[in-house]
């Protein structure tokens, strides 16, 4: 798998911080590289860490962060002396919450259907994995040709409807993806 993708498989590293003004920050914390915030890998330097205090450097500026309060998934962080309120969600709870609120109906339409009849010869990802736009999800063999089917958005694989070796009809639902691009 190419390493140029922003997201790795591990969706448990993707979080959504929603500010009290409804602004959303989708934050992916890779193991060994800079964080990806709203789809942009940002060159943020982590310069200091103590309990409840973090300091970052970015764009030549210093950011002093202090956790002011924390109640379940709600947090108030003071950044350079000004407080901001967030509620925090893992991508799973975010999707679940969204499903309950009914707001993700159209987002879920990023599901992948078979473009032609054929046979699933390979599956690269599992349910719950994070997928990048353009990243191959499965191989569909049709008329002796192997076609890689790729994700059209960044998102989480919610459900895989097929198994390896299965034959599918045209337009049959293969994979449901929850987009995180919105």
């Amino acid at each position: 798998m190419g390493t140029s993708y922003k997201y790795r498989r591990d969706a448990s590293r993707l979080f959504i911080a929603v500010r009290d003004n409804e602004k959303r920050f989708k934050i992916y914390l890779p193991k060994e590289s800079s964080p990806v915030i709203n789809g942009n890998e940002l060159d943020i330097d982590f310069v200091e860490q103590e309990d409840f205090h973090y300091a970052f450097e970015w764009k030549g500026k210093h950011f002093q962060c202090e956790l002011v309060s924390r109640d379940q998934n709600k947090a108030i962080v003071k950044v350079n002396g000004v407080e901001y309120k967030y509620s925090l969600e893992s991508i799973f709870s975010y999707v679940r919450r969204g499903m309950i609120a009914g707001v993700v109906d159209k987002e879920i339409d990023n599901s992948i259907k078979a473009p032609m009849p054929g046979k699933i010869v390979d599956l690269f990802l599992g349910e719950g994995d994070l997928v990048n736009v353009g990243e191959p999800i499965l191989t569909l063999e049709a008329m002796k040709m192997q076609n890689e089917i790729s994700a059209e958005c960044n998102g989480v694989i919610r459900k895989i409807r097929v198994v390896k070796g299965q034959s599918v009809m045209k337009d049959e639902l293969l994979v449901e993806i929850q987009s995180i691009d919105v």
Partner: protein, 499 residues
């Protein structure tokens, strides 16, 4: 030679500031240790500390004239500097010091008293030819008299109960139609509150600027002024940012207002440092408001643009030295801005914050003047003022001064309590401040806490919150060793090594 002793009957940054001048003057600096703040920073700067033992007193030592003087005598103090606030403008205290043979650093008690009585100060100002806000010569008998006056000076006007205070019996009249009704309600309210329904009428300045002229006078009748400061940025009469000079004062006006201030000080026989306050209307007309008979919080901006040390001069004048500076010696060099660092929450109606300062970091640029009464670890108590420090910055002109001040504020950080620094940053970037188009009503009318926020801080805050949340979340997921969420720290560690 025996060194003279000076007692500084104050605390915080101003105590340290005065000690600095006292040492330059070869004096032994003595301060009080209040039980309400027993390990305050200023104590470390003094040569001698007097235990105030004020834990069981109903007020701190700094507000207790008899105890101050008794302890001063016991410790054979020669001079007493009151600083600002507390008893600095209490004529009885100044008189008590002098009566007991302690040289009070300030003007004569009689003048402190006169200037403290607004009506006396104003009548003295009229005698000296200073302009006052147009007002009825005495109480107006009827609403019609008030109307005649209002028509003469123009609306809006303000109705004030002559016995008034605390806003009672006070009405702002925007237009003629409402005058009769408001006059009646002001009258009724004044009568009910004070047993006296006398009402004055004054022209009401809707968007005034607060300007003040610094003066220095000696005991031999020499008086000079050191230009003006603009202190329009204030909330409930508490200044938050001051600058010198003022963009609203032309060279011509500076000369005029300065000369009036000097004339007034000479006429009343003022000595020591003092401040003549004016308010300026949108059309540039200005009026005498009052005189402050002490060193002011914002004195450093004047020092920065004139190169004159005002506290040094206060001490010299008190000891009988002649003012060797003449008006011609005073020139204004560039621009200076002072930001007050108050432990107040600008996101929540400037409510005071008390507790501990975990870490405080000031700008390191030696050109930035820092006056601080605290260090990392200091406590901020509810007993005293919330101003913990001042950051004073110079620039070759106003634009440069604003830029330099912003840079200095970027280098300030305080962990533990909220301060007015984010507020100062927001103001310095606001077009109204940049265009010098701000008045004493700016905070009430324009300021909104959302001005403190910015997108970068908001995003980095989201990142910080997420890291804190994620470290717990990932531990709960069980795929991470429990010690210090190692997986997250890989990025952290890499970054640290590279940094």
């Amino acid at each position: 030679m025996i060194k003279n002793k000076i007692l500084i009957a104050n605390r915080g940054e101003i105590a340290i500031r005065i000690i600095r001048s006292a040492h330059k003057a070869g004096l032994i600096a003595v301060v009080f240790q209040s039980d309400r703040e027993s390990d305050a920073l200023y104590l470390q700067f003094a040569d001698e500390v007097i235990m105030a033992e004020d834990a069981n007193d109903d007020k701190p030592i700094f507000l207790n004239p008899d105890k101050i003087v008794a302890l001063a005598l016991e410790h054979q103090v020669d001079l007493l500097h009151p600083g600002y606030g507390f008893l600095s403008e209490n004529p009885d205290f100044a008189a008590l010091c002098i009566e007991k043979g302690i040289n009070f650093v300030g003007p004569s008690p009689a003048l402190i008293r006169d200037m403290g009585l607004k009506t006396v100060a104003k009548s003295m100002a009229i005698e000296a030819g200073l302009p006052l806000v147009p007002g009825s010569a005495g109480p107006v008998a009827t609403a019609q008299d008030a109307m005649d006056f209002a028509k003469k000076v123009g609306f809006p006007v303000i109705l004030k109960a002559s016995a008034g205070g605390g806003g009672r019996g006070m009405r702002i009249v925007e237009k003629p139609e409402t005058l009769e009704r408001l006059f009646k309600s002001a009258y009724d309210e004044a009568l009910a509150a004070f047993g006296n329904g006398d009402i004055f009428v004054e022209k009401y300045l809707q968007n005034p600027k607060h300007l003040e002229f610094q003066i220095l006078g000696d005991k031999y009748g020499n008086v000079i002024h050191l230009g003006e400061r603009e202190c329009s940025l204030q909330r409930k009469h508490q200044k938050l940012i001051e600058e010198a000079p003022s963009a609203s004062v032309t060279e011509e006006k500076r000369k005029e207002m300065g000369e009036l201030a000097v004339r007034f000080a000479k006429k009343i026989g003022y000595y020591s440092a003092g401040t003549i306050e004016y308010i300026m209307d949108e059309d540039g007309s200005y009026y005498f408001m009052e005189m402050n008979t002490r060193i002011q919080v914002e004195h450093p901006v004047t020092e920065m643009i004139t190169g004159v040390d005002l506290v040094d001069w206060q001490l010299k004048i008190a000891q009988g030295d002649q003012l060797t500076l003449t008006q011609e010696d005073i020139s204004i060099n560039g621009w200076a801005i002072e930001c007050r660092v108050n432990t107040e929450d600008p996101q929540n109606r400037f409510s005071p914050q008390t507790g501990f300062i975990d870490t405080i970091q000031f700008p390191k640029d030696p050109a930035v003047r820092i006056e601080s009464g605290v260090v990392s670890g200091s406590a901020v108590t509810p007993y005293f003022d919330s101003m913990i420090a001042k950051i004073i910055v110079h620039g070759s002109d106003r634009e440069q001064a604003i830029k330099n001040t912003l840079e200095a504020l970027e280098d300030f950080s305080l962990i533990g309590l909220k301060t007015t620094v984010p507020f100062c940053k927001a103001v310095l970037q606001h077009p109204d401040f940049i265009n010098a188009d701000y008045t004493t009503r700016w905070i009430d009318q324009v300021y909104n806490p959302e001005m403190l926020e910015n997108e970068d801080d908001e995003m980095i805050g989201a990142l910080a919150a997420t890291i804190m949340y994620a470290s717990e979340y990932l531990q709960l997921q069980g795929d991470i060793p429990a010690y210090a969420n190692d997986a997250l720290n890989v990025w952290v560690l890499n970054k640290r090594i590279n940094y």
